[in-house]
Amino acid sequence: MADLHRTFELRCPVHGFIPITDWEREIINQPAFQRLRRIRQLAWTDYVYPGAMHTRFEHSLGVMHIATQLFDAVVRRSAEVLKTELNYAQHELDRDKQIVRLTALLHDTGHSPFSHAGEELFPVDPKSKKYYKHEAYSASVIRNVLRDVIEGHKLNETHAIKADEIATLLEGTSSAVGKRAFWRQLIDGQMDADRMDYLLRDSLHTGVDYGKYDWRRLLNTIQVIEMPPREGEELAREPRLGVTEGGVHAAEALVLARYYMFTQVYFHKTRVAYDHHIRHALKAILPDGMFAPPTPDRINAYLDWDDWRILGRLAEGEGGEHGDRLRQRNHYREVYHTPESPNEGDRTALNLIRQSLQDLVVAAEPSKTSTYKLEASDISVVTEDELRKVRPLSHYSSVVRTLNQHPIEIVRLYAKPEHADEARAKVAGLLKDPV
């Protein structure tokens, strides 16, 4: 009889060996999870950085691994606070750790082909009137496709974890109630496992060093920070995750890694052009130009779409003009971009350039609406003396302070290759005379 408690190990290029249980192995073996082997992490980025061929499959394993390390570090360093402030008993911690592991493992199961490039083709949720996000698809996969394997495994007999508990922790709905909501910070927060893994992994595979930071030092300094009440308020604010002063530079490096990776990889001019082409080629290929909604009756139809299927359709000549451009490596060319953090004058110049170029501009891609956008970061830092004062990272780091004050909001303008020289010449003419 197979040993249910046997641990398996998967080799990861970033973390070495990642241990998994028989239960997790069975989940990983499901077609809905194996599909992630056929969804590239960075879409068409290999046309800029040839090594960027990695997939959501290895990233998902990495996120589970980092989430576990973070969870253990927080429990190790803040055991007392977790018991007194959040009323945690050991068996509850064990259970929530498993829920966090599975949430991290499954957080990307709802990704569309070519990762974020396809997200603009999600339909509108008739209830909320907003576009679905990929988390809604992941939650649907967890509830409707993986429920049996999650809930029915022998190893779940002790914890009796429900698929809904994993889905709601991922979604951030009110059902992820009480103290467990605290752990959402490991799934979606300033120092979440997703971000910590993709920076390291994307850096490794693209061959750049920009995404590297001392994540072990973060593990060594992360802890629960109690936020005292502010003047005039009775209630203390809820505890949050932060670092001790010793972790300031590791946290600063994490923020800088995001900045560098965003400007050098995620919002690279050619990469952005390819995302544009994939988005439009997908629109031409998909029935009615959009993906199926993440409803119980349609989620399997959605899962049928992966990179392989799209590549097959592209290879057969589908995808319209943008399919042609992908096949022929004939992408739009950037003809102008604003500074990273444009001021009012830069924005005026951009408007003038757009008006002047008119139809020569076939795509305008602002980083602000990009899925890979860079948000302001402010990680809480607690002093290591008796006072235990809580301060934002920007209080210690002038670099982070400056980045927060000057958000990255590049806008890139593109022309067809055959019109690029003409457009660039017009831009040069306009910029000769300061606006």
Partner: protein
Amino acid sequence: MTPLSPETRIAVLARMVKAPLERPLGRTQIMKLFYFLQELKGVPLGYDFRLFNYGPFDSEVLGDLASACGLAVVSETPVFYARGYGYAITPGVNAEKFSREFEENAPVLATQVDEVVREFGGLGAAELELQSTILFVDREWSQAGVLGTDQTLTSRVREIKPHFTEDTILARLHKMKEKGWIESVRGSTGSSTPA
């Protein structure tokens, strides 16, 4: 409905910080004002609020706040108190211009912003956390077709925010019901009606 452009959201922010309030707004207050504006006034801001530490949260709001700082529409200064910190968000040199143009171009929306600031702008972070969490649960239930009672909604909010007493939550719920903001609970108490 097409969501408002980021530029319009920044103009909304200008309008908020220009309002005559006793104390400068903080990040939590800005977050909740946007939440109420979207949910109570139906303004299509395009934010996707999730439940986080201090109630409904969307990092996009902080992104817009950073953009507004970059454009000198607002100025954000950390405020340190005994052991913690917060932020004071005050008008920047371009706030007046953005606010005035906003009022000229979108007078109805400007009035809606004023109403929300008048209603909630003077409240502390804890009070906003409570009211926005009540509204968040209410809207989730409403969208799911769930009809609750005072007691069931109060219990759910208490599970999420155990540092508020049941009496406090119930009192706030009653107040919000009187104002006609609650969709998933009808009447005063009554029994639960299944969806």
